[in-house]
Symmetry: C2
Subunit: 258 residues, 2 copies
């Protein structure tokens, strides 16, 4: 598979000679709030390339979202892992995480401001082709990526992995200009079938270019290897759904970054 990936990158015009993923902690601000994001890119790729914003789960920017940014860099993209919560705000218990995420879930204006500040960091990077930019997010981050789309942001697409699909302001869905892909666990008790349906209904009503994939047997957080393997807890890693959803994202990028 490594050989195939190399062959494909060559065919796509990427140079893999001396491929080396670089990373950098990036300090930035939104209003008076200090934020600390994480940039990843491949030094061996030449010229402007697509950029991907990565939005963390409810625990804030940590190793998981950073590892996704590095994976995206290996695919040839510039990836910027956003910090929505603020420098040092990294909830360590579910209670704290729920409380912090709740602030942003309740205040969509604040959420958008933070998402836009992160997007601006990505767009300011000279390695990024500003016409080929997308946002992805996990759980809480899926909500943030979708909220960025609802702000009318000029991105080509948004991908939510087991994302929170809620939206208290359905009228804002009509602001979505980009393509939307939601990758849901078919057994996710935190984002129920009812919520997925409601989301589909809103996307339909707003005339959005949307897709939803349901992965049978997968529950919440199915892409996260640290989520354990007990589906009965409602959150568990599912290697198959992880692979399938990553492939779906790659196909989506191939379409929107043409």
């Amino acid at each position: 598979m490594r050989a195939l990936a190399t062959v494909m990158m060559l065919a796509l015009g990427f140079s893999t000679a001396g491929a080396e993923v670089r990373t950098k902690v990036v300090e930035y601000n939104e209003g008076n709030t200090a934020l600390e994001g994480f940039l990843a890119w491949d030094d061996a790729v030449k010229g402007p390339r697509p950029g991907v914003l990565v939005v963390h789960e409810w625990t804030g920017l940590g190793k998981y979202a950073k590892s996704r940014a590095e994976q995206l860099a290996k695919l040839g993209y510039v990836a910027f892992a956003a910090d929505i919560y603020g420098k040092g705000v990294r909830p360590s218990t579910p209670e704290e995480a729920g409380k912090t995420a709740g602030i942003y879930k309740g205040d969509r204006t604040l959420t958008r401001a933070r998402a836009k500040a992160a997007l601006a960091q990505l767009l300011a990077n000279p390695l990024v082709d500003p016409k080929r930019v997308a946002a992805i997010g996990y759980c809480f981050g899926g909500m943030v990526a979708l909220e960025l789309a609802r702000s009318g942001a000029d991105v080509a697409g948004v991908v939510a992995f087991h994302g929170d699909l809620s939206n208290p302001n359905p009228e804002d869905d009509k602001n979505i200009k980009c393509k939307v892909l939601a990758l849901q666990g078919g057994d996710d008790p935190f984002v129920s079938t009812k919520e997925v349906e409601a989301f589909e209904g809103r996307m339909r009503a707003a005339g959005v270019n949307w897709q939803v994939i349901q992965f049978g047997g997968a529950v919440h957080a199915y892409t996260n290897p640290d989520a354990g393997n007990d589906n009965s807890k409602g959150m568990a890693y599912n290697a198959q759904a992880d692979r399938r959803s990553w492939q779906a994202m790659k196909d989506f990028f191939a379409e929107i970054f043409q």
Copy 2:
């Protein structure tokens, strides 16, 4: 893209030198009924390879399902387009098509017998690796492919494109041993959101390895270029959903034919 496809086929171990798709009309029987299927394969590919059964829409085996078989042959598979209705039974009006399809929709035992007879043709082909076989179907053919799975057939996977997901015998879902992928039009009035949900519920209850993709903006028959372009009729071609669904099928095959 042609260059990329070639590079990928080389990387996958297929030889493309002198690639030439061959086709053959195949006469076969199920009980006393004469059937006329269509085989497609690439003469330049050497050795056993995966086989794909293709099941036609409600109008019976015609140019559409045959063209899909040829596309699959170009991908390196052996494809057999089944004849479910019988030699010469090719309904030419929606009324006739509905009546003929209704026979099979009502008599699932007959449907399974016809599907199995077609599968036997594919398996009997020395170019086919019998451990790597799948079935796909369009509309009515989606129902047939799923019914084949419900018979407990030893296939690796089944793909239904805008398929009829109905099943009068839900207890039979537990016989499904293969992976299942349903590719639905998000606005399909003939296979409604309610029916898709019911299908998901049955797959879940039966412990099937299932996936469902909903393509926003697509109605019934979205993969068929002859379906027109008026969504308000409930059936229309959608080039984007056609491409997306074909890619999803290819990804699924890459997984199940490992």
